[in-house]
């Protein structure tokens, strides 16, 4: 069994002034190559905090985070930056750089990796075509729809050919039509391209295609939905799954 990322009894405590905020309280979590894992939890449960740790953006207060076998607490900031080049981030608010085109946004992650210009051009074209944006490459983010922007963000993450993709509420900011299209894209990336995906959401529906769902409540991780605590409605989930394919089919045509 090969873990791309693994945490051991991870705790993260923030200090808000003098008051400690225990955002994570002992998380044991691991993801294997090729898995599609969803982490579900309500607002403030520590989802982004966990994502920052398994994305090597931050280090835990206690416990260990291993990324590709390396303990990130033992790496200096330079080494951690290098490690991040093997991880694809997709954020809730797209986080594109507004003043440069879609093409350049995607290209940026490749320049960071010191990839040659000609090579970059080829990769960016291919990836933007893969996400269906071949005729939107020269547009600036503010000339793109929310769904298109999020696809650019996904393309940017994919350009690095990452070991795994981290997605923080990738559909949090779009309408349902766009949401379904992005969900389909994510599902394809996992099922067809074999991408390892860790997705964070507070919406059970978004997680429906995943291989495994972990539930994060109050800084602790559960394998089963702690129904009595937060009352997830699993019935609505099943209904939506049935309609899913139709929605995507109609979206593709438009």
């Amino acid at each position: 069994m090969k873990f791309v990322v693994k945490t051991e009894n991870v705790e993260k405590t923030y200090m808000q002034g003098k008051i400690p905020v225990h955002a994570l309280r002992g998380i044991d979590f691991s993801v294997e190559e090729g898995e599609y894992v969803a982490i579900l939890g309500p607002s403030g449960s520590g989802k982004s905090t966990l994502l920052n740790l398994i994305g090597a953006l931050d280090v835990p207060t206690k416990g260990k985070v291993f990324i590709s076998g390396q303990d990130i607490s033992e790496l200096n900031s330079r080494k951690r930056a290098e490690l991040r080049r093997t991880i694809g981030f997709v954020f809730q608010f797209y986080n594109l750089i507004p003043r440069i085109s879609a093409f350049k946004n995607v290209e940026l992650s490749l320049s960071v990796k010191n990839i040659s210009r000609s090579e970059r051009k080829k990769i960016v074209k291919k990836i933007l075509t893969d996400v269906g944006l071949q005729d939107r490459m020269k547009h600036a983010p503010n000339e793109l729809s929310g769904g298109q922007q999020q696809r650019v963000a996904i393309a940017r993450a994919l350009a690095l050919d990452p070991t795994y993709l981290l997605m923080d509420e990738p559909t949090g900011n779009v309408d349902t039509k766009t949401r379904d299209m992005i969900m389909k894209l994510i599902n394809q990336l996992n099922k067809e391209k074999g991408r390892t995906i860790i997705m964070i959401t507070h919406d059970q529906f978004i997680a429906k295609d995943s291989d495994r769902i972990e539930y994060l409540v109050d800084g602790k991780l559960y394998h089963k939905p702690p129904k009595e605590r937060i009352g997830y409605n699993t019935n609505s989930l099943k209904k939506q799954k049935l309609n899913d394919n139709k929605i995507i089919a109609s979206e593709e045509k438009s």
């Binding site: 330079r78 930056a81 093997t86 986080n95 750089i97 960071v112 010191n114 690095l160």
Partner: protein, 416 residues
Amino acid sequence: MKIFDILKYSGRSLKSQKWRSFLTILGVLIGIAAIVALTSLGNGFESTITGQLESGFATNTLIVSKKSGTFEQPDPLFNLYYENRSVFEGIDHIDLAMPVLQVTCNVSFGDDQINAFPVYGVDYNNYSYIFPSSFVAKEGGIPTNSSTTNYVVGSNIDQKVDLDDPIEITSIFGGVSHNDSVVAILEEIGGVSLGGGPTDNGIYLHANLIRYKFNIEIVSYFIVLLDDDADSTINSVSDAISTAFNDQVSVIASTAVLDTIQSAFGTIEVFLGGIAGISLIVAGIGIMNIMIVSLMERTREIGIIKALGMKNSSILLIFLCETIFIGLIGSLLGIGAGYLFASLFGRVLSGGAAGGGPTGGFGGGGVPGFGTISPIITLDMFGLAIFYGVLVSVIFGLYPAWRAARLEPVEALRYE
């Protein structure tokens, strides 16, 4: 990230805020332009002045005059006399020692008169020997016989008299008169008298005439011609002369006068440059200000590129490159603007002087006309201007760049 990509990234972010970048560059431009304008004008002015001084200038001369000491009290009874010529004969490296006499007179040129004007007594032959390029007649001829009673006059005096016209002088002390004609008018020298050389405002008679007719034996100064102009020779001869006259004389090398003037100009230039430098520092503060604003606006962006795996050092470079661009463009444009301004200003200055007619009049050697002042910009200055422009932008850009590089990725991404 490769340096080329860093440069492109920096350039793009400057371009995305055109007005802001332009105004920041303008700050540097003004600072550099002020420095370049002031120093190039100063250089031009200095070279005009020293150029004028150097025409009719001999580097291997000393002026020996009675000491007018302020620190040590000179002997009040001491004077230099014509026959003191012999004192110089025993000193090595002295080619010639020529006494210069002076008598203050009221001078009349037919209708026109100048009062209390110095008339010099020199040995015409020796004077042209020491100043072969400036004691030269443009009209008439300088007499070679030592009993001549005719005048030789500088080119400015030409405006009062023509060749062969008479001049009558009457000494203020003693009331002795002399009346004779002008036998030679000197070529225009264009400068002020330095090192005892002839001037455009000079009226000259033969030393013998001043001695015998006006009964003057006291010498204003000796012009000593050396057989070489090495500093060591100048120093040793100066010492020997001082000793020979019991330290009652001051010996000034003409090169020393020029050096003093040049170092005075140097000081003025440094002073002006310093004032202009302040505007460059203000520009630097402007850069820092704008980069801090830019840092705040781009905090989230910094978070994003850090999440993409960009190293702190690359982010530092991106910010520094932006300020270096500003400094470089600002200083290049500033050099051009400064030079342009200096040229215009130099033209106004010299135009004004030329319009003022013959300058200085005849009272005690007036200010010479400026001629034209063209600003001088050397390759050094060009390099230094760019160096300072970039240096200031790096210094003031370093702090914002360092802060950008140090941002915690998580904090930066949370920043609204």
